[in-house]
Structure formats: C-alpha cells, structure tokens
C-alpha cells in the first residue's frame, strides 16, 4: 500500500464523515438514531473482524464486551456521577482488562471450542449481571436521568467509528495484521516463523474488545436504560458476525459495507414485514452464504475486480 493510496483512502473516509455530519441537522431523530446504530454496527463488525476475520478465532460471544461496556458506563455515570464521555473512555479500558482476563483461558482453545467458550463467557456474564444486584441493579436494569442526547451521542459514535476504521485500516495494512493472518492460516507455522502467537492473539482480542465496550457505553447512554437481557443479547453477536462475513471478513472495507447494507436491509424488512422480519432476513443470509461464501469482497476478488491479499 503506497502513501498515495493511504491519502486517497483517508480522503474517502473524510468524505463519508462529512456526509454523516449532515445527518443530524437534516433528518428527524428517528433517522439520526438509525444512522447512529448503523455506525455502531460498523464498529462492532470491524472489531469482531480483528479477532475472528484476521486471526481466525471465531467469536460467538462478542456481545460480552459490548454488554460490559454498557454496564461500566452506566454504573460510572449513574452511581458514581462521572461525565458520560469519561465513563465511555473508561469502559474501553474495562473492556480491554476483561479481554485479558478471559483471553488467558479461552485463547488456548481452537475452532469450535473457542467459539463455544466465548458464547459461554457472554451468557455467564449476563447471568452475573442479573444476579450481582449491588453492582448492576440486577434484572431491574439501570436508568439514566431522562434527557435528549441524540446529538451528542451521534457525534460520539461518529468519532468512535472514525477511530475504529483507522485502527482497522492499520491492522489491515500492516505486518501486525499479516501476522494475525498467519495465525489464522497455520498457527504452528506462524509460531515456528517468529510469531509469538500468545501475544498476538491477546493483542487481537484486546483490540477487538475495546471498541465494542465503548460503543456499548454510548449506546446505553443514548437509550437511557439498560438491562441484562438486551445488553447481552445474542442477536448482537450474530449481527456483527453476519455483517462482517457478508462484506468479507479479513478485510477492512468488508465489515463496513456489510454493516451498511445488511443493517439497512434488516431495518427495511423490519418496517415492511414486522412479523416475517427474521424469516426474510434469514432467507437473504442463506442465499448470500450459498452464493457468496467469502462475502462481497471475496466475490470481487474471485472475479479479478480486486487484488488478492491485504498488503501489496
């Protein structure tokens, strides 16, 4: 990737940011909130992609970092009186620490065992969130003071998305990312060729935890109310995974495209066919898996429309 390509891509990102900045003054609060969630899913998919797309450790429980972040932010703001921005930043740290704690045991597992262990971590944390009442307020959840904050949270999510895209871009064009790919392709070979796989896997997990935790924090503050079932909802993991896979995992643009397209599709089907929403969405996904197993980017690469590999 040449410096010129980097500048061109940065310009592209800047263009998108400008367009997204026009959303709040132009559209209704409903549309604003749609775009905020869309940006949130871009963040989530890009993050999932670091540990699962690049590194090949498919996480079935990534919502856990998001959920932890919503809780960390809410507790710090509501119970400790922190400014919400500070609380969101601290949630990133909490997500990172949590990733290190669970990373030690779960990153020793491979393939389906890792996937299930992450699912277990998410479900287990949800149960803890329900039962550790003194910290989490239990099943009652936590309510923020009721204020209209859709503008601030929109901007915060936009800023976080820009940072997440830049980090994802760096991963996707660096020797760090290449080494994660090597782990995905053949861990024994990677380790034999100089990659400290323990360190790299941990770094990937931590990176993929920080952004969901912060995005969760912003989302909880925007929604003004959190409770365990919705913040540790398994569908959120499924979405980030599907969006990344639909666009093309192991690429930078894939998860971004996937989230943009599929989140819009699911919103549309939800409005048009509220009862059949999950089924129509499900059929769409099956078709994609059948005809584009490596996502949009894989489809383009196979036809020679895009170059193979991430570093040229």
């Amino acid at each position: 990737m040449s410096t010129r390509d980097n500048w061109r891509n940065l310009g592209f990102l800047a263009g998108w940011v400008v367009l997204l900045l026009f959303v709040p003054p132009t559209f209704s609060i409903y549309i604003r909130s749609f775009f905020m969630f869309l940006m949130m899913y871009v963040i989530l998919s890009l993050s999932w992609n670091i540990i699962s797309g690049y590194t090949g450790y498919i996480s079935f429980g990534h919502v856990v970092f998001y959920g932890i972040g919503t809780y960390a932010t809410a507790i710090l703001v509501v119970d400790y009186g922190w400014h919400w921005i500070m609380a969101v930043a601290a949630s990133g740290l909490v997500g990172a620490i949590f990733a290190i704690l669970i990373g030690y045991p779960v990153l020793r597992l491979k393939g389906p065992y890792f996937a299930i262990a992450m699912l277990g971590a998410a479900e287990g944390t949800r149960v803890i969130a329900i039962n550790w009442v003194s910290l989490t307020h239990g099943a009652d959840g936590i309510a923020y003071p009721n204020i209209e904050n859709s503008f601030e949270t929109y901007i915060a999510m936009l800023v976080l998305m820009v940072i997440a895209v830049i980090v994802a871009y760096w991963v996707g064009h660096s020797r760090f990312g290449i080494r994660l790919n090597a782990i995905r392709e053949d861990e024994i070979a990677a380790e034999s060729l100089g990659v400290n796989t323990t360190f790299y896997k941990m770094a990937a997990l931590v990176l993929s935890a920080i952004f969901p935790a912060m995005a969760g924090g912003i989302q909880g503050y925007k929604t003004l109310y959190i409770e365990p079932e919705s913040e540790f909802f398994i569908l959120i993991t499924i979405y980030m995974k599907l969006f990344a896979m639909f666009g093309g995992k192991g690429t930078v643009i894939g998860p971004v495209l996937g989230a943009f397209i599929l989140y819009s599709v699911q919103e549309y089907t939800w409005i048009r066919f509220p009862t059949a929403h999950l089924i129509t969405f499900g059929i769409f996904i099956i078709l994609v898996a059948r005809f584009m197993p490596r996502g949009l980017i894989g489809f383009a690469v196979d036809r020679g429309w895009a170059r193979k590999g991430m570093v040229h």
Partner: protein
C-alpha cells in the same frame, strides 16, 4: 568459507516418546558449522521429531539442544526462530489464503523496518523465481512452488541454521536443481549451516558433506557419504528388515 571443524549446534541425548512409541530415544549428534549435512533414516525413524524438538514445536522428555552455549530445548518455536534457527516442514505449511508476498513478509523480523523487510522479500522471491507469482494466493501454487516459497520464507530473517525437511519430495527435476543450487549458494557464499532430511539418496550423497543416519529414534551411524554408503548398519537399516 574456510575449512573448520566448528560445531554450530549439538544434540545431546534427546528423548521423546509418544505413549509407547519411542520416536526419539537418546539421540546425539554435532552439527558442523557452515556445512550442508544430511539426516537420513527409514520412515518413522524419528527424523522429523528431531526437527520438532530442535525448533520447540515439541517439548523433549529429556536431553539438550545446545546452540551458542545455551540449551534451547523447550523454548517456544518463535524464540528458537529469533535466535537464528529456521526450518521448513515435511508437508508444506505455507499460508494458503495469503499471497506469496504476504507469506514472505509474515516471517520478517519486527525489529527491522518494514521497508527493509519488503526489500528482503522481493530479493528472496527473485532468488527462487517466484516474483511473477507474488500476488497469487499460496494455495494456488503447485506443490513444488509451495516448497520453494517455504524455503524462501525460511530465509527472511537471514538465519544461521536452516533445517529442511524433505525439500526434494514432490519437486520436479528442474525446480529441484534450482533448489539445490540455492542451498549451495547459502552454504558457500553466506556460510550458512544447513541440515537436510531427505529420502532421495542422490540429493544426500551428492550434496551433503556429512551424514547422520537414524533408526528407531537413535543415531546408528555418521560420516562422509562414501563411508555411509558402505556402512553395514545403514545397509541393514535400509534393506535389512525387508
């Protein structure tokens, strides 16, 4: 390179059992520095296991591998690699869904700047004539090309010792001649120490200065090619049990 009798690495009484299988059972040898040596033996005699013990892919039950005065047995593979011992695998382990160039770059040392690593990758791809395929996925290469790629990838950090596990297997004659020329180049021009596991006796007898022979996890003979060819234990090991 000057003729010396220096030792690059010592294997001392290595043992590795898998349940009842004594894959390596008290094996010792001294690898001569700056030379091409061969490690031969019948199927299942423990050759690959020796490589795995030397490179940290497997932990040893007992014994030592001494390199630069340090026992490197039971280090992690990346640590052994960073000390300057690099290897290829009997069944190639190239990264199938990464390009040839990415395969190369993945093995660069993070201590050298990326621009330098890129240059090194380009140079080595040129060396093994894979430059035209630099943007192709590793999995799309022919088996022989994959072996070349694995060989070139093992050279990214300019290692001092290079362990090659059956480099000739499945490689056509032209590619093989190429590969052997490269191996000689590394030894003669760059003073590398090379150890080759190989079943192809032409490769072993014509290209190795020293040969170690294994059977049932132990070294049964060592010597120059013509000594080995006439050694009765070796003849027994290779043809005796049939």
């Amino acid at each position: 390179m000057a003729e010396t009798n220096e030792i690059a690495l010592q294997v001392k009484d290595l043992k590795k059992h898998f349940g009842g299988i004594k894959a390596v059972d008290g094996c010792s040898f001294d690898l001569p520095k700056g030379k091409i040596s061969g490690l031969i033996g019948p199927n299942g005699s423990g050759k690959t296991t020796i490589f795995n013990l030397m490179t940290g892919v497997l932990g040893a039950d007992s014994g030592e591998v001494v390199y630069r005065g340090e026992n490197i047995v039971n280090l992690r593979p990346y640590q052994v690699f960073n000390k300057g011992i690099s290897r290829t695998f009997q069944i190639t382990r190239i990264y199938r869904e990464m390009t040839v160039f990415e395969n190369m770059l993945s093995a660069s040392s993070m201590r050298v700047p990326e621009s330098e690593a890129r240059e090194q990758a380009e140079k080595l791809m040129e060396f093994v004539t894979l430059t035209p395929l630099r943007g192709e996925y590793g999995g799309n290469l022919s088996y022989g090309q994959q072996k070349l790629l694995e060989f070139a990838r093992a050279l990214m950090t300019d290692p001092e010792i290079i362990l090659l596990d059956e480099p000739a297997a499945g490689v056509n004659r032209t590619l093989l001649q190429n590969l052997l020329a490269h191996i000689h180049h590394l030894q003669e021009e760059e003073g590398k120490t090379i150890l080759i596991i190989e079943h192809d006796m032409n490769v072993i007898m014509n290209h190795c200065e020293k040969i170690f022979v294994m059977d049932y996890g132990v070294k049964i003979a060592e010597g120059l090619p013509d000594e080995i060819q006439n050694n009765e234990y070796v003849i027994e090991a290779y043809f005796g049990h049939k």
